[in-house]
Structures are given as C-alpha cells and as structure tokens.
Symmetry: C2
Subunit: 480 residues, 2 copies
C-alpha cells in the first residue's frame, strides 16, 4: 500500500476524485477528538482532513500524532460532511515519518508573535502565515520572469561582487580574503589591496544598473533580478542589509516610456497575485483585518488588503511633476499647521516619507508617479532636462509603502555625463566602461529598480520587511 505514489494536497483539492485511493504526506497541524488529523504539506494553505478509526488503530501510534509530526496516510478519498473542506481521506494506514515532541516543539497550535517566529526562521515556514507569504513570494518571482519574457526582455545576471564603487546608492560591504588580524600593508600603512583575492578592493553590489546598461546597449531590453546590499545601520521595518531588486534597462525608452512600463509592470504583478494566489491572499486579508481590530479606528486602513490590490490593478497611477508636488505640499494642511516633521518651504527640498504618504494616501488617494526631480537630490547618471534644474527621474509611490520603484531616463550624452561626473569628483578609473557606452553608439535609454521585498509587503499586507524574506539580514542579525 505504501508504494502508492504520494499526491500533493493542492492537486487533490483542485481536482478531487472521490473513491480514489490516495497517499498524502505532510505535517500535522492539529489532531482533534482522537479522530481528525489536519495535515498540511505546504502545497496549499488548506489542510487535508484525515479521518482515523481510533478503535482500529494502535494506540501507541496515535499518541505520536502530535502537532508538527510528519505523517504519511493512505486511504480512500470521500466527500466530507465537515465544515471547511470538501473531501477527506479515510485512513487505512498511517505511518509516522518523524515525531515532534510536544514538550519541545516550539510551534504549538496557538498564536505566536512575529518577533518570536523570526527567532525560529527555520521553522516559521510551517505556519499558515509564513507559508502563505512564501507562496505569494514565489508567485511574484515567477510573474516577474513571465512578464519580461513575454515582452522579449532578456534576464542578465549582473555581478554581485563589484570592483566599482561608483554606484553611489549607499554604504557597501567589503568582500575580502585578507587575514584581518594581520593584513598586508603598504609602506604608508594603508591596506595593500593588491594582495586581496581580486587584486583590488571589492564590495557587494548596491545595484546592477550600471552593468545592466551595458547589456541594454546591445540587446535593447534587459532586466536583472538579484540580491543587492546596503551596509546601513538602519533598524527599521522597511530596511534590510540584503534584499532583492529587479532592474529593467531599456534602450530607446524615454522617461514617458519608462513610466508606462513601470505602471504596466506593477499592475501585472498585482493582477497575477489576485488571479493565482486566491487562497493565500484571502487568508492574509483576514489576518490583516484581525490585526486591525486591535487598533484605534483612525489608524485602520480605509481598504482591506484585497480591496487595495484590486484598486491598484484597476486605477491609473497619478503622474505628477516634482514641481507640482511641491506646490501641493506647500499649501497642504499639515504643512500650514506645521504637522510635518520637515516643513516644505521651497523648491529643491528632498521629499520625506511623510510627504510621499500625504500625496499618495491623503491628496490623490492612489499610486503616484513623481517625476522631473531637482538634479541636486538625484544620482549623477540621470538625464538632465532642458530647464537645467531638473533631471528625468521618476519614483512610483504606493500607499502604505512609499517608494516602491525608482528610476530615470539615463544621461546618454557623453559631454553632459562627463561634466557631471567631474563635477561630483567621481574617479574616471571606476567609470571608464560606463562612459564608453556614451562614446560608442549611444542612444536614449531608461530604466528603473523595483525593491522586491517592498512589493511583497504590499501584496501580502505584512508590516515588517523581516517577515517577507525567509532569512532577513539586519544589523546584528545573520543567524542561519
């Protein structure tokens, strides 16, 4: 009987064949009345109910059916009369594959705090919340590749270890094989980086954009999808030291094409989740509603998770220039009543998350794309507009999340880029190859970056970025 091939619970539930003999393997979630075993195998959030006749079963065996134990059950599939499932397995044989001592197993059938679960990140995947998040995360990974593949974009693996420190997106992690206790030094006391593995100083990448551009200037439309790193000491619910980014880069796109693509892309992802992750999103929707019950009325969201997702999928994003946004903010109630921590006084101010949230959540009440920012608050590679003051940058701002996408048209004019690089004092040795792209067969081009974990926060309705990546890396935390 045990030779019967295991079938996944998702398959069984998607197309149940009543009367068929099946083998199901998975982990016990609960065991009620010495009769009903709820088994979950991670293929779906739904448990399979296995019904045992305890009078016909070995008592010692049944005692081992505890929460967290791994079991294999074989029996006939029957229509279920109970609530919450359409079919159940009438158990003919039961095998314990792995015990879970109830005195020691940390995941008992009760509510655990997210903080506690982070400490057992190797086991939290066995909870409803985390397996739902990870299934949604998988669906989003697949949707990213599907979207770009259908459009004829090519995925490019840009390097993780980089010898170039001109990316300028933040503090970097050093990568080295030098003996830290006794590193080789030059005569002037500095580290002799020539002795390091790569013969120079190397760091973990903060962005694949610059290398991505080299690929776009030969293959037209490319995207990267890989880990990026920031060695910043920020212990917030929005920051990770290691996170994943998607960075498309397109030759022949101007800033408007870029905004079109960004909007189409996020909408595709959200729709894909709505269509392919129904059970998980319904669970997460309910979870978020339950969480909100504990909050005062004025802190609750006006929309549920599912409503928010549908709203983003259905509505056009508002496109607003930075200059228009400053006007709106200057004249806004919180600015006049000095409720903003950073008051908006003049054009040129960098926008803080309080301002972005006001625009998105109060003023427009929908996702907003801000574009044409002052050049002094943006990166050197962004294309300068004719007004000499702004660059063709764009940020997509989402309710509850803030910036989810940042991008720009890239400066394709050699002279303009070179002048900006010199002005900022970026050494040419780090950027000769990037400048080459403008020397030889240059073309207008654009690109953007989507922070993958921010997307997952939005789609799952979770509040802390540490809960949407399996093993979060933050200051003082690299367990597992």
């Amino acid at each position: 009987m045990e030779d019967l091939k295991r079938i996944k619970i998702k398959e069984l539930m998607d197309a149940p064949v009543v009367g068929k003999k099946v083998n199901v393997k998975g982990w016990v979630r609960t065991f009620r009345s010495n009769r009903f075993i709820a088994i979950n195998d991670g293929s779906t959030i739904n448990n399979m109910q296995a019904v045992v006749d305890f009078e016909a079963m070995d008592e010692q065996l049944l005692k081992r059916v505890t929460t967290g134990a791994c079991v294999s059950v074989t029996g006939e599939l029957k229509e279920s009369l109970g609530k919450g499932q359409t079919v159940e397995v009438i158990v003919e044989s039961l095998e314990i594959l792995g015990d879970a001592d109830p005195e020691k197993y940390p995941l008992q059938p009760k509510k655990h705090s997210l903080e506690f679960l982070r400490e057992i990140a190797h086991l939290r995947v066995r909870t409803n919340t985390f397996s739902a998040i990870y299934r949604v995360r998988h669906a989003m990974i697949f949707a990213v590749h599907n979207f770009f593949n259908q459009k004829g974009f090519y995925n490019v693996h840009t390097p993780i270890i980089t010898g170039s420190d001109a990316e300028g997106a933040g503090e970097m992690f050093r990568v080295t094989t030098l003996d830290l206790t006794n590193p080789p030094k030059n005569e002037d006391g500095t580290i002799n980086n020539k002795e390091d593995f790569f013969g120079k100083e190397t760091n973990l990448t903060v962005s694949g954009q610059l290398e991505g551009e080299t690929a776009a200037m030969g293959m037209s439309e490319i995207y990267t999808f890989g880990p990026t790193f920031r060695a910043e000491n920020s212990n917030t619910s929005r920051h990770l030291a290691e996170f994943w980014m998607i960075e498309p880069e397109m030759a022949f796109y101007d800033i408007n094409d870029n905004m079109d693509l960004a909007e189409e892309f996020v909408k595709y992802l959200v729709k894909y989740a709505l269509e392919n992750c129904k059970d998980d999103l319904e669970f997460l929707n309910q979870r978020a509603l339950d969480e909100e019950k504990g909050k005062p009325q004025n802190e609750r969201s006006s929309m549920s998770l599912l409503e928010r997702l549908q709203f983003v999928a259905d509505n056009e994003f508002e496109r607003v220039t930075y200059t228009e946004a400053i006007d709106i903010l200057k004249n806004s109630k919180p600015n006049k009543k000095k409720k903003f921590q950073y008051l908006i006084e003049e054009w040129g101010a960098d926008l803080q998350s309080e301002h972005e949230r006001f625009l998105v959540e109060k003023h427009f009440e929908k996702p907003v794309i801000l574009y044409n920012y002052p050049k002094d608050i943006k990166a050197f590679y962004m294309r300068q507009n004719n007004d000499d003051k702004t660059v063709a940058a764009m940020d997509v701002l989402f309710p509850g999340i803030g910036e989810i996408i940042g991008g720009s048209q890239r400066e394709e004019r050699y002279d303009v880029l070179k002048a900006r690089v010199d002005e900022l004092g970026i050494p040419e040795k780090d950027l000769w190859w990037y400048l080459d792209l403008r020397k030889f067969g240059s073309a207008p081009h654009s690109g953007f970056g989507l922070g993958f974990e921010r997307l997952i926060l939005f789609v799952t309705g979770m509040g802390n970025i540490r809960d949407v990546i399996p093993f979060p890396r933050t200051p003082d935390n690299a367990e597992f």
Copy 2:
C-alpha cells in the same frame, strides 16, 4: 515620421508585413556599397538590412553610418532579393542616435579573440557570439523557473550573506564593515567580530542547500536559484569565484526520485533550448564547427553541438553505482596502461575528471549518473546506506563538462546525523537549526545542485566558463 513606434527586428522577422511602414533602431554591424546597412538590435541574431538611396541622402550623414553606430531608420518593409534575409527596409529617413568613431571603437567587423573580448566585457554583448550566448542564458533562466513552477515547486531566496560556516563546500569570502587598517581586537589579539555589522563573522554563501532544506520541510518541494561563491585560487576554464546555482530540495524524495528529477530537469532544459533558441544555436553550432577545423582530427568531437544536445534530450542517462564504476575503471585500458594521471587501485578512491570523462565519453558514450559513493569522500549531510560504507549521493556527469549536477538523499535520522557531525567536529552552534529539522517532523528528503554556468557551457558549446557569464569574477579579476 519619427513618431512611429519602434518595432523589434525579431518581431518584424517572425511576422513580416510587406508594405508596412516601420521604424527600426539598433547598432550598425556593417555598411556595404554605401547602400546596405546591416542593423542589429539584440532581439535576434539576425540583422535587418536597411537599403539607402545614397544619391538622395546627405553625404555627411552617411559617413557617420559606421560599425557600432546607433541608428534609427524608417521606411517601408519590402521582400528582399538578397541572400540571408527575407525582408528589408527601404529607408525613407535615417537618424544617427550615437556615433562610433571607427578609429576608436574596439569592435570592428573582423574576428576578435575571446581573450580580447573579455577585457571589454561591457561591449562584447554587441557581438554575435555573446549576444547569442546571453539570449540562450536568458532562455535557460526562464526554463528553470518554468519547469519548477509547472511542477508546483516554490522558489526560495536563501541568504547570500551567511553566518553559518558549516556548508563545507569550499573556501569562503569574508563580508565585513570593519576598518581593515585598524580593526577592533579582543584582548588575545583576535578580531572582535562582535563589532562587525552582523555582530559576528559572516561570509558569502557557498550553497543555499541547508537553508533550502528548512523550506522543503514545510513546503515539500522548493528550489533556489542564486549566486554562490568560492574563494579558491583556481584559474581554470571551469571555475569562477562567483557563479549561479539551482538547488531543488524535496521532502519525501529518496535517491531514486532524486535521480529521476535531475534527469527530467536537464532534459527539459536542453529541449527548451532546442525549441526556443534555434537561430542562436545554429549560429553557435557553426561557430563550434569552425573552431574545430583548427584542431587535429583526434581532438575533434564526434558530434556537433546540435547533435550533442539532441542526443542528451533523446537518450536515457546511464545509472551506475560508484562500486560498478570503480570496477570498470580498474579494468580499463588507460588504467592498465597507466595513462591516467591518478591510477585507480582500490575502492574508496576519489574520482578525478579524467575518470569521469572516460566513463562518459569512452565507456558509456552518454550522460552518466554515478551514485552510492563512499561516505568518506562525501559531505556530512548525505544519507548513510545500510552497508555502512556508502552514502546515497549522486553526480550527473556530462560529456565535455564533467559533473554538472551533484546531489544526495539527505540524512534525515537525527542520531545518525548527530554522530556524523560530532565525528567531523562541526560545532553545534552553527548547525542547531539544521539538526532541529531532524528533531521535529523529520522526513526522508533529497536535493541536488546544478551549476548554471556549466549548463550554459554545455548548451552553447563554449569552452571557457568566463565566456558564459556577463562579468566573470576570477582571481585578480573583478573589473566592471
């Protein structure tokens, strides 16, 4: 006229509409007879021929149509009478988007050595060979995700920065934010790692397997696809310091299920390439044939690239135990005639690439899966067989490549694993969570790793692993 939306060359060629006015943008490959511009936009290996009436054109403009320049042409699509293309664009307007000074542009229409092209990795994407390789690489990335998604596997992002150094697959890179010139030290002179960013020593991962197992023990079937690192000083055509791996991990799979999946997986990938990368593979096939012409007869392959791919797709892999393989090798001609550098004298010997190649290329003449290896030459987590001598390990060996996949059934028995960990002196503080998987709800499970660049070597027929990843990292080389 320039408002016409750009159309990709691939789209135009896949479904040409003769008589339609089109806009094509791309890089000039050649300009013949002041009349025929071959334009490539990276969407396909095929160039679009644009035909100009030089008498009607500005002479100064035409002078700027040089190899590598980026152009935009608009005109009517016509059937082509020339060889090598079915349609061409009769140019009505021509714009130079970016010049490429022929005196300075490094890529001229002649054969460049692969070594030279590696030094200009930011431009080599504009050659036929490299754009073909990168398109195939993209197709293989997509095929990996498609294969697993269809089967209900979930993609898991395992951490890149790891605090665990028990993976044991090789030398690691240190990740740090400490000041190397003056690092904080303990009283005994050792580095005070508590002051480092993560409060402990961290390294770049050599494998996502151990973390992948935690996910499989809750979601049943998962896979990772991410960068992995080896700080080994090997300057060979088969090794990179940074490379990509795919590591599926499956609960409820024994070693036979594991071999079945590995074989199905690689065959799927190879078939996907044959079906979806026809033009690129034909080009690479011809390229490999041309390369071989320079070699003596006895060093040439018995099959062409396309034949080799078809052969792998069509034939069952040979499954051979290590013990059987040792017998074959002991009695082989090269062993008896002492042609092997490492002679096979007794059971227990570690197999070298010369032995693997003999088995695959001479003895069986097909891909081989070797399994049940001596436990002493394999990793601590592999499941011990009942003979007490071997573990349920498996390696998939490919012609011309050697090991392309390595995997095993994992040791799921707590006591057996714990004894092995202690025997090898691996500190429990690094592995407590891995051992937990065997304490709570353990189950038989298996997994393997596919070296992605080795796959790309096989599918493209290239000889050096530095040529199948956009920006290779090797000792003393981290340019770009």
